[in-house]
Structure formats: structure tokens, C-alpha cells
């Protein structure tokens, strides 16, 4: 929010740059994050809490994998596919990664067009993002089905360490849930953009608050976070 509350000395607080700015922001008897709206700050704080949850999952997986004496399945081969006659290692994860990155690209552009109040382009880009997200979840469903038919369970698998199944279903399942919620969130906001809710300041159904185009950026933060988590899962689970 642009407006700064005046302090008792009548000075606008928290406009200093650098470390002095941090001290002034945090020491102020007001809101800490000047120029950052509550909506955005709260989404960031939610994402921070989500970071801890995903960190705990990845850490447990790391601990299980490093301490087991049974060989870990070769992920490069587990996620290989036969396309035509060629056997390509890790190809499924490669396609999923590129799809998710692309969805992040279209989302970032949607935020931009949102602030330009270009309703059609914003909504279209958000729906493209949602379509990429749905494709990702669909491929994940395929991946799960394939592994389950091959005998992977949370308590075992045909190729080695039992913890592989538990880690796989827990980590990718939790991430897939996030993507699914994101797709729903995207469609809901895209509908509001398309309908012009943020131009006429129409009040929300549940909150009866006016919405602003900033919600596109806030939900963009969520979506990019989902992509961000995938970067870590991809490196630590699939490439390890």
C-alpha cells in the first residue's frame, strides 16, 4: 500500500533505504513492510510456512536415503519411458519440468497485463497457465499409475530401499495437491478478471471486500512458489 502512516514526529516512517530502512521498518510501531500490501505480505508468510513443510519432507527423505544400507532405486531408469522404439531415461520428468516452467512464464506475463488492466490478455494467460498446471497434474497421475502397476507402494518397491515409495508418494503427492489447488485458484481469479470485477470494484462473494488487480500478482506468487518447489524436488529427488 502506498500510504505511509505518519509517526508522532510527523515524519513518514520507513522510507529509508538499505539497512537503515530495515531497522526503521521493523522498529516502527506500525506495519512492518512499507509499500507492501497486507495481501502480498500474508501470501509471502504463508509461502514461508509452506517452505518449512516442504523442507521437512525433503529433509526426511534425505535422512532416510543417506542412512539406509539398501541401494536406492535408480530414478533415471524408474522414470524412463519407451517412446516408439527408443528408451529415454528421465523423459517424463523432463517434459513435466518444461511444462511447469512454461506455466510460470505465462503467469508472470499475466501479472504484467493485469497491472496494465488488459482484461482479455490477463485472463487468457491465466487460463493457459491453468491448462499447463492441469497437464502437469495429468502427467503426474500417469506417473503414479505407472509406478503403482509396477509394484511401488509406500512400504516397498521392486528395486531396492523401501523408503523410496513413501518418499515418492509423500513429496510428489503434496506438490501435486498444491498444483491442483493452484489450478482452481487460477480459474477462479481468471473468471473475476474476465468479468471485470477489479474494474468495477465488485465485492467478493465470501469476503464482501473489493478486489484489486493485485490479486493476480498474489496468486502469481503462489503459482511461482509451486514451480520453485518443483525445482528442488526435481534436483533432490529425481536427479540424485
Amino acid at each position: 500500500m502506498a500510504e505511509t502512516v505518519l509517526t508522532s514526529t510527523g515524519q513518514g516512517a520507513g522510507r529509508l533505504p538499505g539497512w537503515q530502512g530495515i531497522a526503521a521498518d521493523w522498529a516502527s510501531d506500525q506495519r512492518a513492510f512499507k509499500n507492501v500490501s497486507w495481501g502480498k505480505a500474508m501470501m509471502w508468510i504463508f509461502l514461508l510456512s509452506d517452505t518449512f513443510i516442504f523442507s521437512c519432507f525433503l529433509l526426511s527423505y534425505m535422512t532416510a536415503r543417506m542412512s539406509t544400507t539398501v541401494p536406492w532405486p535408480n530414478t533415471s531408469e524408474v522414470f524412463a519411458l519407451n517412446i516408439g522404439d527408443t528408451h529415454i531415461p528421465m523423459i517424463l520428468i523432463a517434459i513435466m519440468t518444461f511444462i511447469l516452467i512454461s506455466s510460470s512464464g505465462t503467469m508472470a506475463m499475466a501479472v504484467n497485463f493485469g497491472y496494465r488492466r488488459d482484461r482479455i490478455r490477463t485472463a487468457a494467460l491465466m487460463l493457459v497457465t491453468a491448462a499447463f498446471g492441469a497437464t502437469f497434474v495429468g502427467m503426474q497421475a500417469f506417473e503414479w499409475t505407472k509406478l503403482i502397476t509396477e509394484g511401488v507402494r509406500p512400504w516397498g518397491n521392486p528395486w531396492g530401499a523401501e523408503q523410496f515409495g513413501a518418499s515418492f508418494f509423500m513429496i510428489t503427492g503434496f506438490h501435486g495437491t498444491h498444483v491442483t489447488i493452484g489450478v482452481i485458484f487460477l480459474i477462479a481469479v481468471a473468471r473475476k478478471v474476465l468479468r471485470g470485477d477489479f474494474d468495477v470494484e465488485r465485492r467478493g462473494f465470501f469476503t464482501s471486500r473489493k478486489g484489486y488487480y493485485e490479486i493476480v500478482e498474489i496468486m502469481g506468487l503462489y503459482w511461482h512458489f509451486v514451480d520453485l518447489v518443483w525445482v528442488f524436488i526435481f534436483a533432490l529427488f529425481y536427479l540424485w
Binding site: 500510504e3 521498518d25 500478482e217 525445482v231
Partner: protein
């Protein structure tokens, strides 16, 4: 009036003002050329491809790990800095969000030591000599 009421009034005012100002303020604040996003998008593709090539060429040992972690960190940095606009946020928010995950790295190092110790004990007591 107490401090709190002054504060709340200030915020209400800020809200009312926001209705008008949000569009304008952010149109200036978080509007970056589309080209920037396309360039970052391109780099994310390149970096992901590099990660897969590490696996494809079957690199091993420290080389594999330094490359995978390097590409991971650069990708994460690009997403957070540009796509999530962190590069343009106020420092107070940036540090509030980026400092706690650094504590997770301490946790990671503790758990690496712990799991190596567990592994050692398992090798000593549970594995049958072959």
C-alpha cells in the same frame, strides 16, 4: 485517542486511498518489460536442460553434485527474484522471507551428520558380511 486507534484510522485511510492508488502505484512499481520475463523463461529452459544433460551424460561424484546444486540454486534465484518480484521488494520483506530458509540449511547439515552416523551404525551392526 490511543495510539492503536490512530494507527487503525491511518490504515483505513490507507485502504481508501489504495482503492484509487493501487493501479497507479503498481503500474509503476511492478511493471517490467515482457521481454524480461521471456528472457528468464528462456534461461530456466536452458538451465533445466543442463540439469538433464548432467544425468544424461552420467556424470558422477562431486562434479555431478556441484552442477546439479548450482543449476538448482540459479533457477530458484531467477524465479524468486524476477517472477516473484523479490528483486524489487522492500529489503525488510526480502530479509524476513529469505533469512528463515537459511536456518533450514543448518538443519540440513545437522541431519547429514545424523544420517551418516545412523548409516555407520547400520553397517556395523545390521549388515551381513558378504
Amino acid at each position: 485517542m490511543t495510539n492503536a486507534t490512530v494507527q487503525i484510522e491511518g490504515q483505513l485511510h490507507a485502504h481508501a486511498h489504495d482503492a484509487v492508488a493501487t493501479g497507479v502505484a503498481h503500474a509503476k512499481g511492478q511493471q517490467h518489460p515482457i521481454k524480461l520475463y521471456l528472457v528468464v523463461w528462456g534461461w530456466l529452459f536452458v538451465l533445466s536442460t543442463c540439469s538433464f544433460l548432467v544425468d544424461y551424460f552420467g556424470l558422477h561424484g562431486y562434479l555431478r553434485w556441484s552442477l546439479i546444486l548450482l543449476f538448482m540454486v540459479v533457477k530458484a534465484g531467477l524465479i524468486v527474484a524476477v517472477f516473484m518480484h523479490m528483486a524489487w521488494e522492500r529489503l525488510a520483506l526480502t530479509y524476513a522471507i529469505l533469512a528463515p530458509p537459511i536456518a533450514v540449511l543448518v538443519f540440513v547439515s545437522i541431519m547429514v551428520l545424523e544420517s551418516e552416523y545412523t548409516h555407520l551404525l547400520r553397517v556395523l551392526f545390521f549388515t551381513t558380511p558378504s
